[in-house]
Symmetry: C2
Subunit: 767 residues, 2 copies
């Protein structure tokens, strides 16, 4: 058996030529015949009734073709809870909510139309802090909460601002706390972040006379987007078509209906003309998604030798005015908030709480960066208190294969300890500290892929010239999925990667895929593509058996050919050309199809949060960092960084490393300085000038990347995912290194220079 | 067993809403970003060397972006023989040949660019008559003939103007002629016709930086068009993508590279900008295709009782300057030119002959209307001479099931005699003649579907909302294929037709199909769709077996559901939703795929024209007509018309009737007045004002349509094809009726009033 030829190789990204030549098209690049431009009028108050909307002036502006308000398009959307109007319906709940929209022949005319609309608001009491929002007497943001259709992921508490309450119960925490040697109780908090994808949100919608709605968008989940529009409007799914363009990054912000909602509402009014809506950067901040700030109260009971015996975690997720994927973030991240440790007694309450802030949602890690900051900071607090090396403490408690998790799953593939050891070794963890301003920190994480995984179908078309078309609904969001899928098909069918084309998604053509989220595509779509290739192999063998009249058992598919036990061989191309009349000017193809699905658990028990296999696979990683703190300014400089991840199998080392580097940058931003300033629901830094994201100068020179290959039994060539996890341990690793360097424990990210400086001033000095 | 529910029903055409609301898009409707408009400069001489092309003025015209000539794009195309340059290379061979092309920001600028180009020609001797073109010493039109790559369909004779020579040899005709009681030798001729599709030829081409060529076109064969471009330019097939729009009729004129060739040549020069080329009506006449005029010498040997014992046919097809599909028309129509009769001795020579005329090609019937005019006129001449009723003579000689044809095939499905009887009955054939100016005529025909049938693949996507997507490369060319395929899928899977969407072809997405020609789609694509539906059924049964742990043999698919012998049942939608997580916000689909192919003969023997199964199926039909001749003007009025066709199985009666009515109109035009006036290679009536096609006033009021359902063992529900055959017998039926009415035998179509009047004058009177 020869090993794989192209799996594990750093194949050049197949989308590179289009991207470096500027010819990869994004939604805003598209110009359709008769296309109009749409703009939305945004609420400037956080919570109010709409008494009147006067659009009469808008129609007088040359070029304005349509104005639409919520009363004319009275639908609500929301994948998990249908709470969000396409356009405000009588009430606004955050600053930035769309109140009306205008379509015009130019963007300028649309903006003039927007500027001419007058809205009369009657203010309502607002609430911005989730801990206040759950107090009795707090203003109710959704009085109709109990009437909203919602998925089982979302467990709303009627007549409250609790959009969803997730519970996990394992063992008896109170008893264990009593028996523990030490108790640790801390609160950790995080801030609003914005994804800051290079490409702002954009969508084009067209209603045609047959009643079909076509939407061009770079949405993460073309089929999910279709479903959400259809369910919102109560129309057949088949009346909606999503055509995907490349996505210029999304990181979780492009999975719902954002620009799509405005475009669809406008298109419904103009009919027969496409309407394009491209958000300004300010709208991306105010009116798409932010990363949830969360307040995490974590109580740990520990035996003196370092064994953690109980953990109770309460998480208060500030989800803003509408649910979006907040309930899901709350559930999934809360569920894993006791950390990747074997703890016999766990009690978790995660609250997803409405406030009058902009909407929160997933951002690279689906809440895990926040909870990892908490559980990994607390691990070091425990280590310090018990005087155990932080690495040792983690290794002592870390989950292992066949352990049962807090939610009751038996782990089938885990390389966590190996990751911890690699990360530590890479940083010479045991080397004694040399410089008083320097410190080292370590942290690890666990994250599962998306739980609403649905199924994943793929079609592979083996053309008569030996080229392949892969028809999938996976989205190229910058992560390299086109390349990885090409590698799988190339390996399976022995077709050179240059002869493989990966389609972009078009729901009328490409088969179902749940979404391109949760680091799921290599695993799910990879498996689907491999199975579709095997369907082709099976057919090729059948054809040879039929045409050459050979018993099927004497034939097998090997290296792109059907070979017989007697030594005959024929390639697929020859097969098509010989038996399908190709030589006579015909041609032909072999079409393979497959659906991959994991028979994962049928959900979690709503009272205990327990389930046998809530997700297809789990990802684990660890990071170790050495920093230097400037004692005058409080500024942190990252000297060395070492990241180790269990990816099951590295399919493309270069792509994997690029993912790690990108995640590292986002992790550092989250850890050190990224913060959307929101006060009373108003964002004060909604631009890339005022909201700071990392630049090359913020990144360490000395970065070591390790991959641990603990194969997943069901993964394609053993692969799991890796897009999200590397953002998660960074903040805690840096916070722990800061403590190591300075003795200062900061329990709130970002760990800004100002906070550090203030803390240094308070303690008087360094150490 | 319940009979079919929707097969055989007059379902409304699924493309009707888009078409009646004007929203079905054709190529010329498309406007792409940055699109340029292209025009071609056409040769005004029939045969000449190009001494110089001066394009310098063109570039001075504002808006002109590119000028291209044959030296810059030195490729030749041609499906059967690669003889035709995209743009003339040093030599022109017909009036209307493209010599240079211009792309500009507007059509006007492109035209100005064209008008500014100066070409210096050096005239060469020309030849226009195919019978002269094959004489020794005739000017050679393609000196390089022997060097052109060609398919086995084409048998060129080097150093001659014979582009292809088809031979069929059965028995010993000379011996049989000697033994026959009577010999009949006649020559029949036909004229140039033009298809006059409502939509003129149009194409848009784009070269992108990756080297990919995308062409938007309404071509009959998207995959064939792809292949022809790729082979012409020696680039990988996967570098070409064809995206189909609706086709506004083609009737055989839209199967090669016409506007596509000009658009591709221009796009190669401008790069990164799409170039649209839409032909004027004049260009459609001069520079696409005409129906072949053919001169047919037919000699029949007959026994007194009417039994035809030998037939020798020589056919001289005027194919114009380039081969296009001429060799194929010549082969297929010549092959069937002894008629649908059981004749023991047959000798056929078909010559496809180059001349300096515009290019000839297939037109609804692929040469069969021409040969049927000859063999069915001669049948009546025999009947008259032997004093046998024309119907009786035909019934006596007609092929029957299990007979062997002239080319050696055993017939598996034939309803010819039934058609003859139905047509005759419908016209009260035996009723004696009442009026001296009136006459009745009858004629029948045979035609096979395309012989280069290749294979046909289909993908059916069963979506989680119960809708279906049929992914096929069949073209909706007005014939109703979308409706018929929807009916097949509806019947197989019990899905309402409103929930079925049929894709348009896009070679990057839709699987291989040879072409939408030769009345092949109902049979070939119908079978592929049915098989793909059955692949879904099989998967559904497997899923139920797997999830419910039931033995597969206890399960079957019935009326859209999987049912168990114990009475359980589950629909596909429930199946997807229950087992693919649909209820939890996921979704899913079942993808079926299939390739249909006929193990037809591996071609015809090049010396004898014999083969076991040259095509998948044969079509038969008969028509009877009563006419009245105006003795003063010679004008023919059709009083009653009766057409009967063996379609195997009527899938959609309304669609079938519409096909018959359309064919009738084209048959009448061919019979009575359609003629492109070509003199010395110059067309004198290249417009819809000067070239007359039938209007409603030309069509009879009294039309009876009969379908004979002689099922084909391999056809979908027994269906064969029906788009072409009904055009074929019309001219002979009318010519025979004219003879019956007047005693005048005209052996040249069209049977214009002028010709009839002249003949009446010559004979002095009627009868």
């Amino acid at each position: 058996m020869i090993g794989p030829k192209i799996i594990g190789k750093s194949v050049r990204r197949v989308d590179a030529p289009l991207k470096v030549t500027g010819k990869a098209y994004y939604v805003d690049d598209l110009k359709l015949p008769g296309m109009l431009h749409g703009k939305a009028l945004r609420s400037n108050v956080p919570h109010a009734l709409i008494k009147e909307i006067d659009v009469s002036e808008a129609y007088k502006i040359p070029g304005v073709k349509a104005v639409v308000t919520g009363s004319e398009f009275p639908y609500r959307h929301g994948l998990l809870i249908r709470d969000e109007p396409f356009l405000a319906q009588g009430r606004v709940r955050y600053i930035g909510e769309a109140v009306a929209a205008v379509a015009a022949t130019t963007e300028e005319a649309a903006q003039k139309g927007i500027d001419s609309i007058r809205v009369a608001y009657e203010p309502l009491p607002s609430v911005f802090d989730p801990l206040q929002a759950i107090l009795p007497g707090a203003p109710l943001i959704h009085e109709e909460l109990s009437s909203y259709p919602h998925s089982e992921v979302c467990q709303p508490v009627p007549d409250s601002n609790i959009c969803s309450h997730f519970k996990l119960r394992k063992g008896d925490v109170e008893k264990a706390f009593k028996e523990a040697d030490c108790l640790f109780e801390n609160t950790y908090t995080t801030s609003f972040n914005q994804h800051c994808a290079l490409e702002p949100h954009a969508a084009i919608a067209l209603f045609d006379p047959s009643g079909k709605i076509t939407v061009w968008t770079g949405n993460d989940g073309p089929h999910r987007c279709l479903r959400e529009i259809a369910l919102s409007m109560s129309i057949p799914f088949s009346n909606v078509r999503i055509i995907s363009a490349f996505q210029g990054g999304g990181f979780g912000s492009k999975g719902g209906l954002r620009a799509e909602a405005i475009a669809v509402a406008l298109a419904s009014k103009v009919k027969n003309r496409p309407v394009k809506v491209t958000y300004t950067r300010e709208e991306v901040f105010t009116s798409t998604l932010l990363r949830h700030p969360v307040s995490i109260r974590s109580k740990a009971g520990v035996i003196k030798d370092g064994k953690i015996v109980a953990k109770k975690v309460e998480l208060f997720w500030n989800t803003g005015a509408y649910g979006e994927k907040g309930p899901w973030v709350c559930r999934n991240a809360s569920m894993s908030s006791s950390g990747p440790y074997n703890i016999p007694n766990v009690w978790i309450d995660g609250y997803c709480i409405y406030t009058n802030n902009p909407i929160s949602g997933p951002m690279r890690g689906f809440g895990v960066p926040q909870v990892a900051f908490a559980y990994e900071s607390q691990m070091d607090e425990i280590a310090h208190e018990l005087d155990i090396d932080p690495l040792e403490l983690r290794l002592k408690n870390a989950l292992e294969k066949n352990d049962e998790t807090a939610w009751g799953e038996k782990i089938v593939s885990i390389g966590l300890k190996e990751c911890l050891k690699k990360a530590a070794e890479g940083l010479n963890w045991s080397e004694p500290k040399k410089d008083r301003n320097r410190g080292k920190g370590i942290a690890c994480m666990q994250k599962f892929t998306t739980t609403l995984q649905g199924v994943t179908s793929a079609i592979v078309k083996y053309n008569h010239d030996g080229s392949l078309d892969l028809l999938t609904s996976s989205m190229e969001i910058g992560q390299g999925v086109m390349t990885v899928l090409s590698q799988f098909a190339s390996e399976e069918l022995n077709v050179p990667i240059e002869k493989i084309r990966v389609s972009s998604a078009d729901t009328d053509y490409t088969p179902f895929d749940a979404s391109t989220t949760g680091s799921r595509s290599t695993y799910h779509m990879g498996n689907a593509v491999i199975l579709a290739c095997r369907d082709i192999k099976k057919q090729a063998v059948s054809m040879v058996s039929e045409f050459l009249n050979l018993p099927r058992k004497e034939l097998k598919f090997k290296e792109g050919k059907v070979v017989s036990t007697k030594g005959h061989e024929i390639s697929v191309v020859e097969l098509i050309n010989r038996y399908y009349d190709g030589a006579r000017g015909g041609g032909g193809d072999l079409v393979g199809r497959a659906t991959f699905y994991t028979k994962s658990g049928t959900g979690l028990d709503s009272e205990t949060g327990r389930g046998k296999r809530p997700a297809a696979f789990w990802m684990y990683g660890a990071q170790a960092v050495e920093i230097e703190v400037n004692p005058e300014t409080g500024k942190v400089k990252i000297l060395r960084f070492c990241t180790a991840h269990d990816v099951g199998k590295v399919i493309n080392p270069l792509c994997c490393e690029q993912q790690m580097e990108g995640a590292l940058a986002m992790g550092i931003g989250f850890a050190l300085f990224e913060k959307v300033d929101v006060e009373e629901g108003q964002i004060f830094n909604p631009s890339l000038e005022s909201y700071r994201i990392p630049t090359a100068c913020d990144l360490p020179q000395d970065v070591k990347i390790f991959f641990v290959e603990e194969p997943h039994p069901e993964g394609p060539y053993g692969a799991k995912g890796l897009a999200e996890p590397a953002t998660a341990p960074t903040a805690a690793a840096i916070a722990n290194a800061l403590f190591d360097a300075t003795g200062i424990r900061i329990r709130e990210v970002p760990l800004t220079a100002e906070k550090i400086q203030a803390a240094l001033e308070k303690t008087g000095s360094i150490h």
